[in-house]
């Protein structure tokens, strides 16, 4: 066991998977000697060399497109995109090729690709460097979308993503890259994709969240005297509705928290599923605490935009009092 930050946990997972499997290859802008924008690939170039830790030109469509070709040819590429906003130029490659290849070829060609992308706000960055586009990708059939909220999950989920036979978008919440440490086993282990984690158990209210917002939810729960069950989705898609369903049938009250804007955010999908699966158990409408339907503001207003613990606490009160 070692006490690691989320960045260190990801770095460790990358090293171990590269050591185990020479099909694993990292590519991206400045991922080599520089270690990437957030230093997630620090030391990897030194360890594995230029053949396996490849600095590419600044060309997201080219990076993801060529990573798809690498994956179709049987390798396990892990491209890094510097910020979630820069996925835009690669959107075509992701949705046109990566997501569809298995279906289009009836399984003859697959794309075992893990796209690593820092995501979300809270680091005083501008828009395009603070966004939360997970529902864009969750909406595209053929993609798996994961977002860890702790160093332990970060390592296990990344190993699962790398070994997964299908394309995975692995979002890394940058706000909690170095926010706290956690005991992380030295050995390799996997966290299954598609399985949520019950962070804390409770009987009165269910909170569903993911990414850096999970930390804000924990703060709100600490400050509350209610019995609240917190579910960290960990995987956005495929959605673990069973875990949510079991909790909501117990509590009857649900709050969903995410950084992305309200409209057509993934919280809408969860609200719909809860309605379908738990309609007769609900004591109150599903409450959503999200970013606003605006462009992510510059840093002075960042905390106004993000679903911080105070706003979550208000929602808890609303849903409890309904």
């Amino acid at each position: 066991m070692a006490n690691l930050t989320l960045v260190q946990a990801i770095n460790l997972a990358l090293i171990q998977e590269m050591e185990d499997d020479d099909r694993v290859i990292i590519l991206g802008e400045d991922v080599g000697p520089n270690g990437g924008v957030f230093r997630v690939t620090e030391g990897l170039h030194q360890r594995f060399g230029s053949d396996r830790v490849v600095d590419t030109p600044l060309a997201e469509s080219g990076i993801i497109g060529s990573a798809i070709g690498l994956a179709m040819a049987g390798l396990r590429p892990i491209p890094e995109i510097q910020f979630e906003g820069f996925l835009g130029p690669a959107f075509d490659q992701i949705c046109t090729h990566a997501a569809r290849m298995r279906t289009r070829t009836r399984g003859a060609l697959t794309v075992p690709l893990t796209i690593r992308v820092p995501v979300g706000g809270g680091i005083h960055a501008p828009e395009l460097h603070s966004d939360s586009p997970e529902s864009f990708y969750a909406h595209q059939p053929g993609l798996k979308v994961v977002m860890p909220a702790s160093p332990y999950d970060a390592k296990g989920l990344l190993i699962s993503a790398i070994r997964d036979p299908d394309p995975v978008i692995y979002f890394e919440p940058k706000r909690i890259y170095r926010a706290f440490r956690e005991e992380v086993p030295e050995d390799e282990y996997t966290i299954p994709i598609g399985k949520a984690r019950v962070v804390s158990e409770g009987d009165d209210i269910t909170i569903v969240s993911w990414g850096a917002s999970v930390v804000q939810c924990m703060k709100a729960i600490e400050a509350s005297d209610r019995s609240i069950e917190l579910i960290d989705l960990r995987t956005i898609y495929p959605l673990d509705i069973e875990t949510i369903e079991a909790s909501v049938k117990k509590t009857g009250r649900v709050v969903v928290v995410h950084e992305a804007p309200l409209t057509a955010g993934f919280g809408a999908e969860i609200a719909a599923r809860v309605m379908e699966h738990c309609f007769l158990y609900l004591e109150a409408p599903v409450q959503r605490v999200t970013g606003f339907d605006t462009i992510m503001p510059y840093y002075k207003l960042e905390l106004e935009y993000l679903p911080e613990a105070e706003r979550i606490a208000t929602a808890i009160d609303h849903v409890a009092a309904y």
């Binding site: 053949d51 060529s66 070709g69 049987g74 009836r106 003859a108």
Partner: protein
């Protein structure tokens, strides 16, 4: 072939072709095979058009008639282990790379007997066993994937197998795709990472209805673009299979030996419209006739007759065989089972543990509705 440093060569006058010496060394049987390969594509496409008009083939349909020499000559310069990728006008390439006509035809019919069980359709023909990585529908987006295939070949040869890079990837695009960003990113990536990639622009002069000089800078000599990416560019006469082979052999061999990318301006012409619904108002009948008069099949026939004992009788037999093969492909497609939702709609989205997908949010609810009222809970 001419590199960008020399003046563009014009198409040679018929019958006065002075071919590269490597052509003279080719066995007669090889040339006859190429004639048959081109004939097969032509016949296949003629029957494809009929099936489309008879509404047997749905979706869209882009036929390869006129461009046969490009696929046949280019693939002859490759080894079977070299990966290939192309865009949506992929029937000719799929056949030239060795997918059986019946699997291609059934794919377009959307039937189970297709190379992707009728899931991919006309623009998405694939054959992993022949290293044919598709058929892709988004113009230009396949070129970065081709760069990735070249990257993978090099990586597997050099890093995993600890040897020398031995394979070359070939990525095709149309001249319209030259203006897509993905093409430029892929060219730069190939240049900067020393990828063994031959990028072949099938320059048929039109991006759907837009003539190349209306939509593309340096439309007169697009091989000049290669210089900007630090690679050699070539112009090849794509209407003559012997020239295509002779030039592509040298280009592919050089890419393999140097482990470097190359760019080819492959001058060709599609006789038919961009797709089946194209009225071709953007060009003249005279222009079409001019190209049809340099037909790649005729040119090879002429060469065969002039230099070998190939006879009209042999051609007749070949033609009969090819017709029978395509007819059998149509029969296969027509008799092939229709896809069923249970088998074909819900599967192959992810590896099966995550499927099948029902398309309804609560499948149990559907089952409930199907019950008689008395049994409903």
């Amino acid at each position: 072939m001419s590199s960008t440093t020399t003046k563009t060569t014009k198409s040679p006058a018929q019958g006065k072709v002075d071919y590269d010496p490597i052509i003279k060394e080719l066995p007669e049987q090889q040339l006859i095979q190429w004639l048959r390969d081109m004939l097969l594509i032509r016949e296949f496409e003629v029957r494809t058009m009929q099936s489309y008009q008879n509404k047997k083939i749905g979706g869209f349909c882009h036929v390869y008639i006129g461009q046969e020499a490009v696929a046949v000559g280019s693939f002859a310069a490759l080894k079977p282990e070299d990966p290939v990728i192309t865009a949506y006008r992929c029937h000719g390439q799929a056949l030239a790379r060795g997918i059986e006509p019946k699997y291609c035809m059934a794919e377009m019919y959307g039937k189970i007997g297709g190379c992707a069980k009728g899931k991919g359709g006309s623009m998405h023909l694939f054959d992993k066993s022949n290293n044919f990585f598709g058929g892709h529908g988004i113009v230009g987006a396949q070129v970065p994937v081709g760069a990735g295939l070249a990257f993978a070949s090099k990586y597997i040869d050099e890093v995993i197998n600890e040897g020398a890079s031995t394979r070359v990837a070939m990525a095709f695009l149309g001249d319209g795709a030259l203006n897509q960003g993905a093409f430029h990113e892929a060219m730069n990536l190939a240049g900067v990472l020393d990828l063994p990639l031959v990028v072949v622009c099938e320059n048929n002069g039109y991006a759907m209805g837009t003539a190349i000089d209306r939509g593309t800078t340096r439309g007169d000599n697009i091989s000049a673009k290669a210089d900007g990416y630090g690679m050699e560019g070539f112009v090849v006469d794509g209407m003559d299979v012997l020239r295509v082979y002779a030039d592509m052999k040298k280009i592919v061999d050089a890419a393999r030996a140097e482990c470097r990318p190359k760019f080819v301006d492959m001058r060709t012409y599609r006789y038919k419209g961009h797709s089946m619904s194209d009225p071709r108002k953007y060009r003249t009948k005279e222009e079409e006739q001019q190209y049809e008069s340099q037909d790649p099949l005729d040119r090879l026939m002429m060469y065969l007759k002039a230099t070998t004992s190939f006879s009209d009788e042999q051609y007749k037999t070949m033609n009969k065989d090819v017709r029978a093969e395509v007819k059998a492909a149509i029969k296969w497609a027509e008799q092939s089972p229709e896809p069923t939702p249970d088998e074909q709609l819900y599967h192959d989205v992810f590896v099966e543990e995550f499927g099948p997908y029902t398309g309804t949010s609560v499948p149990e609810m559907l089952e409930e509705w199907e019950k008689p009222d008395s049994q409903k809970s």
